[in-house]
Symmetry: C2
Subunit: 198 residues, 2 copies
DNA sequence: CCTCGATTTTGAACGATGTTCATTTTTACG
DNA sequence: CGTAAAAATGAACATCGTTCAAAATCGAGG
């Protein structure tokens, strides 16, 4: 019944997720191969498919772990802030620093696509919600006339704007920019959003 | 020498790009298969590789065509605008409407990744530059103290912010949002940026 | 410690896909 | 028409994700 000891399959799951995390960190999501994951986890190729339905399932769990670390970092930034400007600034810069420090894993959060027609499972969608909540909480008092849903929508807009600046820059699709200038632009945008929130 | 008549290989190239464009429009970038492209273009599988080095080469050319249509749409929006607010608003809404109308092709512009270690060719990177120029031109007079490079960086920040709001929404990684609300949020952000440009 | 059924692990095999290239077909021109 | 260059072809190959029959391991009962 209430079995607290990790089973063999659970240990294998942990090793596979760790291996997938390392490989994405080193080579990016695009270079991820099932055989490399199994080898690094010290398991046979087929073992991966006794734990996950397919590679997408494993990637979702890797992303889940990345989101948890991101949540820890952003919670620290938020709780050590006072006032809207300070909170937005610290959240944005923490998000930037996390993206820079864990580039490939952070990119995988948004690069990954399920196969045609297959939706992202609800349990994983829900794991993204804290990002909105972190912004909605300090934002709500500044929008006293707005419903909770409107606040969430505006919070998502602000998150998306900062996220866009960082992701467009790190994707390198435009002319490159130094990390110092990127940080400056993120600061400018964060303060601009905070100043116009009400 | 100055041969103006399209050769057979050039006609094949046009058909392959058209086929790739249709297939991405219908099924998205992820479902694109070399055999489907060749079949729809009325060519043999190998023909694709007499025109392009690989699938990435064809995708770059599909994206090139999408960028040209996007440029046409945004140029129209820009030239029919007066003042910074009006220009930002029209550019942002035109960008949103293009993304909604050509969802899969627009997504392919930013979803596509070259193989590990292979950079996006310069000729294709240069095709993205107009997006920055469209914002930098009306922005420059409002930043008289800034260098041309600083204006370009700020223009990219503004583009990225609007792009982020649209792409995060269309990716559907967070709770869904209606097109009407998305348009409202894009408007809010565009006006917010225009108002704080100087 | 042995037995044997259940469970877990294995990796060869399969199907799908991008890519190559020897062969065939078409074109261009005297 | 002849023929050499160019283009087109599709079978074959290499590499993936995925499956599954077989082997290895485990565990309870004698």
């Amino acid at each position: 019944m209430g079995d607290k000891r990790p089973t063999k399959k659970e240990e294998l799951k942990v090793r596979l997720i760790a291996a997938g995390t390392e490989l994405i960190r080193e080579q990016g999501l695009k270079g991820l191969r099932a055989r490399d994951i199994a080898e690094r986890a010290g398991a046979a190729l087929g073992g991966l498919y006794t734990v996950f339905d397919d590679l997408d399932g494993l990637i979702l769990h890797v992303n889940s772990g990345t989101l948890k670390r991101l949540e820890t970092a952003l919670n620290a930034a938020s709780s050590s802030s006072a006032g809207l400007e300070d909170t937005f600034l610290n959240l944005s810069l923490s998000y930037l620093h996390f993206a820079l420090a864990e580039r490939n894993l952070w990119s995988a959060l948004f690069e990954h696509r399920m196969p045609e027609g297959v939706p992202v499972p609800d349990w994983h969608l829900a794991e993204h919600a804290f990002l909105i909540g972190l912004i909605a909480a300090p934002l709500a008092p500044h929008l006293p006339a707005a419903s909770a849903e409107d606040v969430a929508i505006r919070a998502r807009t602000f998150f998306s704007a900062v996220h866009g600046v960082i992701s467009v820059s790190l994707e390198g699709r435009f002319v490159g920019i130094t990390p110092e200038l990127l940080e400056r632009e993120v600061k400018v945008l964060a303060l601009l959003l905070a100043h116009n929130a009400s």
